[in-house]
């Protein structure tokens, strides 16, 4: 039997649970689940991905193909951690143009350096 194999030792393992009422058992179930999920959701709170950033640009009025190119360019340059939407909006506000105009320039290969966070 390898380390990942195990006989059904439920009869032994269940002993500590024996004294729990059903409500207590349910409480134990959900508190263990919360313990497992906490680090997962914390990672999500503090991280982003190209798909998340593309979804932000979709919401800001870019097509899927445009969002892919713009986010790809930012990811390549190591800027994604600032947020694709934030980079576009900050630039638009700085130069007094629309978000869409900033994006279209990037798609034409222009204005990338000015975007640097």
């Amino acid at each position: 039997m390898s380390s990942s194999e195990r006989a059904d030792d439920f009869a032994t393992r269940r002993k500590p649970l024996h004294g729990l009422s059903d409500a207590e058992l349910h409480g134990r179930f959900w508190s263990l689940v919360q313990e497992i999920v906490a680090p997962l959701i914390e990672e999500a709170r503090t991280h982003t991905t190209p798909a998340i950033e593309r979804s932000v640009l979709l919401r800001m009025g870019f097509t899927s193909a445009e969002a892919k190119l713009i986010v790809g360019g930012m990811h390549q340059r190591g800027w994604l951690g600032h947020g694709a939407g934030r980079l576009l909006l900050s630039r638009a506000q700085a130069q007094g143009s629309s978000v869409r105009q900033v994006g279209e320039a990037l798609l034409a290969g222009e204005g990338w350096e000015a975007l640097r966070p």
């Binding site: 990942s4 194999e5 195990r6 059904d8 030792d9 439920f10 393992r13 269940r14 649970l17 059903d22 058992l25 349910h26 134990r28 179930f29 959900w30 263990l32 689940v33 919360q34 313990e35 497992i36 999920v37 680090p39 959701i41 990672e43 999500a44 709170r45 503090t46 991280h47 982003t48 991905t49 190209p50 798909a51 998340i52 950033e53 593309r54 979804s55 932000v56 979709l58 919401r59 800001m60 009025g61 870019f62 097509t63 899927s64 193909a65 445009e66 969002a67 892919k68 990811h75 951690g81 600032h82 947020g83 694709a84 939407g85 934030r86 909006l89 638009a92 629309s98 978000v99 966070p117």
Partner: protein, 728 residues
Amino acid sequence: MKLTPNEKLNILEVLRNLAAYRPRRRGWTWRSGPARQQVGPFMYENASPALAQSVPLPSAHWFGDIDPQCDFVITTEIASGRFEDDLRRMRMAAWHGADHLMVIRTTGQSHIDGLIEGTPEGVGGIPITRKQVRATRKALDAIEDEVGRPINFHSYVSGLAGPEIAVLFAEEGVNGAHQDPQYNVLYRGINMHRSFVDAAEAKRIMAQAGILQLDGAHNANATAKEAWKVTPELFVQHAINTEYSRRAGMPAELIALSTVPPTAPPAPKLRLDLPYMVALRDLFAGYRMRAQQNTRYIEADTGEATVTHVLDTLLSRLTSADIQSTITPDEGRNIPWHYNNVAGVNTARQTLMGLDGMMQLVALREDGYLPAMARELKERAVLFLEDVLAQGGYYAAVAAGMFVDSGYFPERHGDGIVRDPAGGDGADTVVPREPDYGAPVCSHFGDNAYDGQAGKACAAYGGCSLCNPERIRYVDEVDEEDTVARRLERPLAEQQAGLLRPEVERHGDGIVCVTLFVPAEPQLAEAAALEMARRMGLAEPTVISRRMMHPAEGSVFEVRGRLEAAIRIDQLVLPPPSEPIADAEIEAWVRPRNIAVVAGTVGEDEHSVGMHEVLDIKHGGIEKYGFRCQNLGTSVPIERLLDTAERTGARVILISTIVTHSAVHEQNMRRLAALARQRGLRAGLVLIAGGTQVTDALARACGLDAGFGRGTTGRDVGSFIVRALRER
């Protein structure tokens, strides 16, 4: 766009001006209204409002054509690969009671890092694109108006583009979606960090668009060798996704657990499945249940599949469900055919109406085996969770192969799915958010520089697409070769030319299925069945179901093949439609004439119901028009009918002939005509036959004046008699 029942769905109309289309609502709709209501002759306890238009169950004609609707939402899953064909299938399913239409995605879409656009053809499902989603929602708006009930449109928020698909669904009014990061990890080999980080964003978007979420735990059921042994793990998978969804901002009422009774007969299904279902509902009180039917043990025999699905549905009613999802009975042998979607929906509809009010009659035991087993399953699940933490958390547990192990936990067989937390599709694409990270949009999860500001995060540039739909940029087509317009060329040309072909999946695919019993040993019989199908002119015949009746006496086969010929509509000869005469007109003509009618069920045949339907005043039969009817009963000799007619001066003889073996119904009809002629009575009599296998053409061929089949009313028969007697 408006549909009319006698006109086909116009796909060109669906596609017209899609760029300007906006969905009429967002979010999920449950069936509502009083559960207790009178429908026709019956009081129901688990009902929902009736449809404006529908096709009732076949037996409904005995009960005044009622079509009561149950309180569960009913799902059907659609996967033809061409959305334009899916729409027609959706319309048919809606007419049979489906209000949750789930569109399967094309193979491989999970691995595409971004959205697909246009209308390319898919395999085993459609590529989910904005145009296809928009066209589908637009068609469903028209279909829901036609049937008079909101229809939920559903697909999948998974794979590498989860957050983008969630945005697309929110924008386009998709009502439900699967979202479960564990599915990506276990079954799609997508990097686990990427999958979970993406999922939080997708779930937040879905939550704020009111999209109902289904999880993916049922897949463990479908993949495990012994599905009932993974039940402890199913609680764990449901719980991880549920808790993660709550933490991402999803309210309990939008979280539905996708759950399947794990076994099928000959396993002792209720004993194995019921404790699991009870334990699940205990642990997850407050969440919705999407009860799916079993696919794990489905075979090619559609009858067998249907029985399992009836039992699954019985288990839903015994416990609880908010959605009853259906599996087509042919899923074990091919990609579902459209009429089998309807068959699956009808299995649920028929079963649930039959089980209406069941919990007034029975209760689940609160002592003995059932609660003891439910408790055991919960304890096994708690031990599983403890082990996940002991392994070092979720990612480490997946890396250690804890999930989808075929052992009955804590038993382990060492055959679980193993994934590397650093590997998989999309590895190394998860980026830490910098302190100034920002996303100026709504429905965003996690740290965000714009969260602190007053007003919406998207206010600075006039609103994101979720607040301001004008911002959505619609893409029509990308690849001009692979489009719906190209695919429609042949069907539209054939429609124009008035050609008709049979189909099961796509427009005019020509596929038919024939059933053959061959009286020989299985191997020989199968070869013969294929040859017989070839002789019928079917191209590429394939056996899709074989069932031995006896090793030597024979087997029954279902053979699929393609009929190459198209029928020209203008060359078909249709019998003239005969509109029944108005009740008052029939009565006005009949009553003063005092017309005698002699009737009886002939031969050795004890069926009496059909004749009562046609004669008796209480069933709406012809007595009400003033016919003087004499029913001689069942197993009546033909001679006796003629004797009585002669004695009473009857103008009409009605026979009912139900039994058909050795074509005895034909013999009865011929004998009536022949004896009437021999006795010189034929010219003075209107001779009519009725029965389940009787057609007008058959009756006339046998020498009678008319024949009536299933669904005949007294008014149909009365109208015919009046017309026939007027002519004489």
